[in-house]
Symmetry: C2
Subunit: 157 residues, 2 copies
DNA sequence: GCAATTTTAATTGCACACGATTTAATGTTG
DNA sequence: CAACATTAAATCGTGTGCAATTAAAATTGC
């Protein structure tokens, strides 16, 4: 039984996503290196360029990351000089992340990145959008299902 | 200009893949925890269950990982008792990874994992296969394109 | 046959990720 | 308003990922 049902790695959606994610990160590394950014740092800036002054919690909700990941990352971004971390005067539990002038100016410098990457992907532009939508739906399904797992332990089957 | 062309995070294929990959890892964590495995460790075992005794380099080629990642991971798998690392007597640079009896026995215990996860995905079974294929193709394209980047620096544009 | 090159792992250093815990501040409730 | 609960970050420990370097062994050229 064990031999007959050997799992084929290449057919697994999860592995495809896992390995594609790393391939993306590697591709971005080359493009972002001139800006002194890693891909997760770039993601945080994308969020802030959309709306400046977001709190750590909000950024985390947007990127599906928690404070354990974001706090050190944001401190590095602050160290580079792209953001400032400002504790809210009204509610001192919260920390707002503000772009510095350098951080704002970076948006223009990073403008070419998405186009450069799109050239690398080697997939027709219209397919990219559809694929992104499908993968996002997949993520949302998993996100929801994982929450369930904590409660009911899948033992019923 | 900067405001008009703001990059919308949710439309980016890369972010979808990045966040879906983490969602997968989280989902697997719950399923693999009883086996004492992380997802990358599980991937290595999948490869070894297909063919035992592979060298580090071969495993890396299969999973798109290098020795910097695999060496410590394999040492942990050895510490748990699922594999042994055996240095080739003929070519002492090479290390073969052999499953222990416990590592072999684990295949049967892990047999339920893919099915359990498929239930969580919430995507019709036939779509999963197609999606996996598309994402794998995307990864292969990126993999190839990233190799190019090192040589010609995209400066032509 | 031996020096130069190539190949294979290991090692090192840095940056995520995330579960779990801690700390501090804020809400809530009797 | 005091006890309790909730919330937001920070902290801690473990485990990836990967570039760069090192070390050892095999291969090649001459």
């Amino acid at each position: 039984m064990s031999q007959a049902e050997t799992v084929i790695l290449e057919k697994q959606l999860c592995f495809a996503v896992y390995s594609a994610s790393h391939a993306f990160t590697r591709a971005y590394r080359t493009l972002l290196e001139p800006l002194g950014l890693t891909y997760p740092q770039y993601l945080v800036l994308l969020v802030l360029w959309e709306r400046d002054g977001m709190r750590v919690k909000e950024i985390g909700a947007r990127l599906f990351l928690d404070s354990g990941t974001l706090t050190p990352l944001l401190k590095r971004l602050e160290g580079i000089g792209y953001v400032r971390r400002i504790r809210d005067a009204n509610d001192e539990r919260q920390v707002s992340i503000m772009l510095t002038p350098a951080g704002q100016a970076l948006e223009a410098k990073a403008a070419a990145v998405p186009k450069d990457l799109q050239c690398l992907i080697g997939v027709p532009g219209d397919e990219i959008g559809m694929l992104a939508e499908q993968v996002a739906k997949l993520r949302n399904g998993l996100q929801h299902a994982s929450g369930e797992l904590g409660t009911r332990e899948l033992e019923g089957e």
